[in-house]
Symmetry: C2
Subunit: 206 residues, 2 copies
């Protein structure tokens, strides 16, 4: 991640760096649309460039290839989720409330701008050299959520259950939303986030 | 499906047909192990033959290619799930009880023998000509589960919520289990099935 964000940073001003980041985020959204339409495997740099309204040369200035776009996409989504989980753990609210906040943030990170969406889930689509770090980060996130669930059970705020299994059920349910959510559908991403979080935490409240 | 099951049926006795079906099921389990190990896209007929301890020639007698194996795998899993959902709707038990039975059967169909597992979820991996029928069958299954959820809400046995969204959350949670379940892990598939069903229905009980 550091390597990505620092690209060219030795030569550019903070303002130029912010501009680069904004452009990279734009490219990401375009790439997400292509990934969604064609699947990650079939998407090509040429199409991503077209969708982003850039020449392929300019696109390659921002990203070395599709793998780097995918890595950036997954990393960004996971960073959002991790930040939300860490913030929730540091908050004095009740565990059900904190857990709902984490799940809402998770759904929003995936569906909000469709940046992550399905591409976020396909760690296997990354080349081997990039996969390990992403899996480690994903595991760290899962660990954070599980710790919150386990804490709630220990404190008696949540019903006793297998914390690891329930955490995976929750994450499965929210991850799956990337498969069926349609930005032009009846529900907004914020509504999906709220309803999923309510339902999933309800299964553990006493 | 009919076309697949009837392969060669005009010339063979019922006993020979049963034998063929048993051999196809064996091949399926071998294929599922290869799909799991390498991913559906990278798996080849040669490896499936090796895993099933068959010559490629014999393998091609039973299946025309990887696509047909994948189709058979998905179809079989969905047929199990549909049968369970239809049986549950025809049963006089309470809705929470029937819903738990459907979810348990779903998890078991996916994890029980690892026949379906991840391959079951990858309808997109089928060639276009095979995809539509499978999507229709999957939709029919989702519709059955949703009807059960909606019925329970209408009867006052389940808390009111968006039945379509909750159904998708449930299916997402159970489908996700194919991603993390390890046959050599601590939990048996029956335990996973039971715990997931309990937790997911608890989120709707009053």
């Amino acid at each position: 991640m550091v390597q990505i964000l620092n690209r060219g940073s030795t030569r550019t001003s903070p303002r130029a760096q912010r501009k680069t980041e904004a452009r990279r985020a734009e490219i990401l959204r375009a790439a997400a649309r292509v990934f969604r339409r064609k699947g990650v495997a079939a998407a090509g740099m040429r199409e991503i460039a077209e969708e982003a309204d850039l020449s392929p040369g300019i696109l390659y200035y921002y990203f070395s290839g599709k793998d780097e776009i995918l890595q950036y996409c997954q990393d960004r989504t996971l960073e959002h989720m991790l930040a939300a989980a860490e913030a929730a753990r540091a908050t004095p609210a009740s565990t059900p409330e904190r857990l709902r906040a984490v799940l809402r943030a998770h759904v929003q990170a995936m569906l909000g701008e469709l940046e992550g969406a399905t591409a976020h889930l396909e760690v296997e689509a990354l080349p081997e050299g990039m996969r390990e770090a992403m899996i480690a980060k994903r595991d760290r996130y899962e660990h954070e959520v599980r710790a919150l669930v386990a804490e709630g059970m220990k404190r008696g705020e949540l019903a006793k259950a297998d914390a690891a299994l329930v955490t995976r059920a929750m994450l499965g349910a929210v991850n799956w939303s990337a498969r069926w959510f349609r930005p032009d559908g009846k529900l907004r991403s914020a509504e999906v986030a709220q309803s999923l979080a309510d339902y999933l935490v309800r299964g553990l409240t006493k």
